[in-house]
Symmetry: C2
Subunit: 315 residues, 2 copies
Amino acid sequence: MSILPEEFAIIGTYFAPLAGEGAFGLTDDAAILAPPPNRELAICADAIVEGVHFLPSDPPDLVARKLLRVNLSDLAAMGATPLSYLLTVSVGRATPKTWFAGFAAGLAADQATFNLRLLGGDTTSTPGPISLSATLIGHLAPGTALRRTGAQPGDGLWVTGTIGDAALGLLALQGKIPDPTGFLANRYHLPQPRLGLALHGIAHAGMDISDGLLQDAAHLCRAAGLAAEIDADKIPLSTAARGAGLLKTCLTGGDDYELLLAVPTAQEPALIDVCGRAAIPITRIGAMRPGPPYVHVLGGDLEPNTTATQGWSHF
Amino acid sequence: MSILPEEFAIIGTYFAPLAGEGAFGLTDDAAILAPPPNRELAICADAIVEGVHFLPSDPPDLVARKLLRVNLSDLAAMGATPLSYLLTVSVGRATPKTWFAGFAAGLAADQATFNLRLLGGDTTSTPGPISLSATLIGHLAPGTALRRTGAQPGDGLWVTGTIGDAALGLLALQGKIPDPTGFLANRYHLPQPRLGLALHGIAHAGMDISDGLLQDAAHLCRAAGLAAEIDADKIPLSTAARGAGLLKTCLTGGDDYELLLAVPTAQEPALIDVCGRAAIPITRIGAMRPGPPYVHVLGGDLEPNTTATQGWSHF
């Protein structure tokens, strides 16, 4: 069901070329998906809204890629290999064809990068801001999903990549801080899902960092019934983020799409090996410890304890 | 990634109780889906937007059920059995908890009716109208999907249920026509997906009618490279629709969510038997015939040939 002028022409021109096996060229009522033999599927859906998750001025190809990547990051956090996706696109009736062309070009680019295929979806009109959703499907060996639960006292707490760049990138795009190289804005526009790490048997627990490191660490604590201790001085920051000097923004801002992992000491060499082979930086920022679910932040230059309701505090 | 006040409380209170096996209580990054053995999956996604696909005054439980049912109708059109779904919900930051309670109650009601379980999704804010999407997953025996392609010359054209009630129901809800019993409004609010019909081997082609009978019949024609002839006087109308006397609205309005089937003459007894056992009314409205893709409408009381660009005309 869809109400958009020239909807079928738009689907045929811009989206049908992206359709994969089982999608019937986007001309049928549903797609058929034959799961790979002896694999489970991992499935997730995220929505992004213009003015909330992306800026009206963001180029449509980057919006498309961000839509896929925020979902791919969820698959990465489960240890799944991406397979296919469905899409819903709600846009204004006067949306120019150049927007669809750019959006589809972004999808095509990331389909190639991540070996994805489009299975189906819906294109419709809205009187409001652009509203997009994607459902991503991945596959993994049965029983190997990396869950948020399961962290143990003494596990080291590790993060991939660098933290805070995207939150600073948003400030840069809003003209609030400088970003002479465009590095921070790029990290906001184009998350790097940390796919391809074989973490089953290495990490006790894991998740992607989308709502801010400290809030997401608090989720990991609640899932385990444990506290966490994070050394603010060990959190990996990019050169640009170090230059900005806004540590609290880095730790509480969202959109990192890095992985947060709880790893027993005995598996640390394996973790470093797996990440090294994938050329993904990995940094130990703290540890899980007994105690009520809470994130204790040590060091850094944060003002004291103003955000305890978010499940963390600074000492 | 989500930005909504009290988002986690809303998920925990209203959506987590709906989560099924593999959804991990909606607390993990993705759900795990182990496909039923020896079955393929059918998967589809539709979006609905406040003010476009439903009215701001529509009760939230009916909005939730319509969201599921427009997608269930797509599964029905493929011959799939519903299994599970994911959801994205974008609402204003001031949306009252009663809205979520009503919306979740509607989901719960239709989960029970259709034996569905919630696998995951996203809840986020929007400065615009309520914007919803659902991805529905069903299963079917490999190779049994009912496609839109494959109609043959001479196949009878059949529809389930009655046509046009929902389009009239929208007019009634807008105060444009009377609806003393509320029958028409109910057909707009609550589509009846025609699940459970074992049509493989009986119908050559099928689809659900969501964009209006004539436009969707034109899709079936294009998929087959054939023309269709529809006898307007044979189209099944409810008593309320007959009373309204707006035949063209019935044939071109959307939201029917009935099935349109192309069935060879030899299989007509089997079709009638299958539908009879499911207590689903089925009516022969015309036939496929050789010729360029086009829907020729005979009889009725339609004005001549004004909408030929939609792929049909009246004689």
